[in-house]
């Protein structure tokens, strides 16, 4: 097919000045290209507007971690590994452990990220996950106490993005929750300021404990496209970069909301938010089924 071929200027009103192949058009006018799809109710990757990408969850993938999970959300792949270490508690909370989630968006997963310390997006996602875990009291930090005022467990929750294709928050939160449910820590013994765990025999229910999770918040994100604020569920990288704003709804298994955020784009009606909450409810059920099938 010819690119940039001028048509004969016979009827200027009816014929476009140039014809492009689809991929050229996509590169030159990404938004207009996308708009053409959206007006037909589909997206370039074949999904419907409210469709989420195929999701898989695998737990226990990293044997050097106390708990781990790998989540694939279409082209986005994240691995969450949790390591438990012993630390001194804070003076004002002598019986509480630490839960420290951090997201790493390395230059390996996308050219959008630079090497070096975490960029803005990584920091913002880390903060959002940290807030959901703390504010909706997913884990009672008192369960992580070994000896009051002396020693507590620190759960280093590190999320590594292997491949980035949008919607990192949903994928990261799902991997954190799956990994937390997968954590096994050997029963500690405290004597004279030293924490010991028994090694040797294989890890089992007798010599280790699991974490008691009060709830499992899972999020569903939607990009807001164009001034019409068309909702695009589970945006991929290309959709994220051409959309103006985002709505994220985090919901737990008891149908309680854990976080709602609407950022960017123009003002959206409350009906639009309700629509998001309804869709998020369905989606989190589906995702929960995928996670429990593991």
């Amino acid at each position: 097919m010819d690119t940039t071929t001028a048509t004969t200027p016979m009827n200027l009103e009816n014929s476009p000045a140039f014809t492009f192949t689809a991929s050229t058009f996509q590169k030159l006018h990404p938004i207009e290209y996308f708009r053409k799809f959206v007006s037909q109710g589909v997206r370039p990757d074949g999904r419907l507007l409210n469709g989420f990408r195929p999701t898989t969850v695998h737990v226990g993938v990293i044997t050097t971690a106390n708990g781990s999970a790998m989540v694939r959300l279409g082209g986005t792949t994240v691995v969450c590994g949790i390591k438990a270490e012993v630390a001194e508690p804070k003076l004002d909370s002598p019986d509480q452990g630490y839960l420290v989630p951090n997201v790493d968006l390395s230059p390996m997963c996308s050219s959008a990220f630079r090497p070096g310390p975490p960029g803005e997006q990584a920091q913002v996602v880390s903060d959002a996950i940290n807030r959901v875990l703390k504010e909706s009291k997913v884990l009672d930090l008192k369960d992580l106490c070994i000896e009051e005022g002396k020693a507590v467990w620190t759960l280093w929750v590190d999320i590594v993005c292997v491949s980035y294709d949008g919607n990192i928050y949903d994928a990261a939160l799902a991997s954190v929750m799956a990994a937390l449910a997968n954590v096994r820590i050997r029963n500690p013994s405290y004597a004279g300021g030293i924490i010991k765990v028994a090694g040797g025999e294989a890890i089992s229910d007798e010599n280790s404990f699991r974490l008691k999770l009060n709830r499992t918040p899972l999020s569903s994100s939607f990009a807001l496209f164009d001034t019409s604020l068309t909702l695009l569920a589970d945006p991929n990288f290309a959709e994220e970069s051409i959309s103006q704003g985002q709505i994220s709804i985090t919901i737990d298994e008891h149908d309680e909301l854990c976080a709602v955020s609407k950022i960017g784009a123009g003002s959206s009606s409350q009906a639009l938010l309700r629509q998001c909450v309804d869709r998020a409810r369905e989606r989190s059920k589906e995702l929960r089924a995928i996670m429990s099938a593991q």
Binding site: G81, E85, N102, P107, P117, W156, V160, A198
Partner: protein, 289 residues
């Protein structure tokens, strides 16, 4: 204090692991490998797949049982840094990174540690001779490696070399040949090796020193590395029959080193078949798509 991460406690340590007295640990004296199913010359089964990272020009994921790492290649792209001057040759930039949970001991990832820096350099030295950088002036190729889990230092580096060259090929970058990586460790199978013939040898062993027998274990895991006397990591281009990088550490006699290099070259040929297969698969997939 790191201000760009969620703060945790200033200091945290892994708990002490206490083994029961009757706990039997693996030692090389048992003449068997840590994984009893493997013979000394056996590599672990390799799983290699391309195209995992959707945004990268080329990518590969490799798994040797518990050694798991991902590699993403970006480029060739123009040199970003202004003032680096004109370069007639392309630059191959490698970045090797361990996930914090990749090793038995947690790695604090606030800064690139010296080991990561060293491995990055080795990687770029091992790959550069294979890549036709002279065809890519004013450009840079970025190779990023993230180790998700490491089971053996040498095998990790070898896997990174293998994965990176497959990822480079997947990115369509011209190369002279694929580079396969392989590691080998020398283990001292002590005098107690002949414990089956018992008394005589052990009593004579106390009297006059017997030269310890050295066994070469291919693709050693973490547990075996604890007892190694030395190790080599070889990067080798099987079709050209050329070595691009050889890393040797520890003490060993000349013949042992020669022998292990030969072993590694043989193993690299096996790895090469796996790399070939992975690339052919990716060709098929892109044809179907």
């Amino acid at each position: 204090m790191d201000r760009k991460r969620v703060p945790g406690p200033e200091l945290s340590v892994a708990p002490l692991v206490e083994y029961p007295i009757d706990h039997e640990r693996w030692t090389p004296q048992q003449e068997k490998r840590h994984d009893p199913k493997r013979q000394p010359e056996d590599l672990r089964p390799i799983y290699l797949k391309t195209g995992l990272i959707s945004q990268a020009s080329g990518s590969a994921y490799i798994e040797l049982e518990n050694t798991k790492l991902a590699c993403g290649v970006y480029g060739p792209r123009p040199v970003k840094k202004i003032g680096q001057g004109f370069s007639g040759m392309g630059v191959l930039n490698c970045d090797f990174k361990f996930a914090t949970f990749a090793c038995v001991k947690r790695r604090n990832n606030t800064r690139q540690d010296p080991q990561e820096k060293e491995l990055s350099q080795i990687l770029s030295q091992a790959l550069a001779p294979a890549v036709r950088l002279e065809l890519l002036p004013k450009s840079v190729i970025d190779v990023y490696i993230t180790v998700l889990e490491s089971d053996g230092w040498g095998s990790c580096l070898a896997a990174a070399i293998t994965a990176a060259s497959v990822a480079l090929a997947h990115a369509g970058i011209e190369m002279l040949d694929l580079v396969a990586g392989c590691s080998a460790s020398y283990m001292q199978i002590g005098p107690s090796i002949s414990s089956t013939t018992t008394e005589t040898s052990s009593s004579s062993g106390a009297g006059n020193p017997i030269t310890p027998q050295i066994q070469i274990f291919m693709d050693a895991d973490t547990e075996e590395e604890k007892y190694e006397q030395g190790a080599i990591v070889l990067a080798y281009m099987p079709s050209l029959n050329e070595v691009t990088h050889l890393l040797q550490n520890g003490k060993a006699e000349g013949p042992i080193i020669n022998q292990s290099v030969e072993h590694c070259m043989e193993a690299c040929n096996k790895v090469y078949a796996v790399m070939h297969h992975a690339l052919l698969e990716s060709m098929k997939e892109s044809k179907d798509a």
